[in-house]
Symmetry: C2
């Protein structure tokens, strides 16, 4: 059944990559002015949501044991504080460059993984808990992150006049 | 590696169920007046998006070989036509009842499935294509539907003042 393990790792990775690509395509199709706007009156801007998703991807690096975050300052700006925090934010050009660099780093590590590696524990679950709950593995994190990306993608899509 | 197959199926099913529950919790927390409003100016109403997701779940029944759709008329209203189609729509109470009935029907069939059944082909892929692309199985559909639900969930969340 090693083939089946490889098959469902491919399914999960394909899903994550497709969602990540849809998000990047959307962000790249929007002008900086469009992306800076609120996705709905009083709600988060496209820039904040994009930065939030970039920060979440960056956090996968330590979570998967790949290494430290590349942009640790994004955690404060985009994860621990809301859009209207008053904190200085990176420019959209900087965010896009950061996103590309994080994706390249993630993909370089992912390319070296064997299917079985995805079923090992991530950094936020203890050895004891993982023994009892083996579904709390790296692949499960990736599945959850794919849905999370979809959630905010649906909001940013409003800036492009998409349903 | 049968354990690993069962584990992965559990991960995908848990993800789908959790997202489905989050959506239903959100819809139930909104008043009918709130759910009937546009999620953002000029965009789909919460009712339409909920109906859209109910129709997509209903379509899983034939796609997975479980049987015919329970609410075939929803396809015209919520999948083939936009919110402002002018077509008569079911009431929110009817939609919620339909959603519960579809979920119960889906879950009754899912409970009878063995992990390996999830890796069999769904109704929209040919035998020939499936032989070449075995990732186009039922479980992959479920993963895609989870992300799709997340996408519109992020939009309906605006009606509850959530980010």
């Amino acid at each position: 059944m090693e083939d089946q393990t490889a098959l469902f790792v491919k399914m999960a990775l394909d899903g994550w990559n497709a969602q990540n690509k849809r998000l990047n395509d959307l962000v790249n199709q929007l002008s900086d002015e469009q992306l800076s706007a609120e996705t709905a009156p009083g709600r988060n801007t496209g820039t904040y949501l994009f930065g939030h998703l970039v920060a979440v991807n960056d956090a996968l690096l330590p979570l998967f044991g790949f290494g430290p975050r590349l942009y640790p300052e994004y955690e404060t700006i985009f994860l621990r504080n809301p859009d209207k925090s008053g904190l200085a934010k990176p420019s959209i050009a900087e965010l896009k460059a950061a996103s590309a660099k994080i994706d390249a780093e993630l993909n370089a590590h992912i390319a070296k993984m064997q299917p079985a590696d995805w079923f090992t524990k991530h950094a936020s679950v203890s050895v004891e808990d993982f023994a009892k709950e083996p579904h709390r593995n790296k692949l499960n994190v990736l599945l959850g992150r794919t849905t999370h990306m979809g959630y905010h993608h649906g909001q940013i899509a409003y800036l492009a006049g998409q349903d």
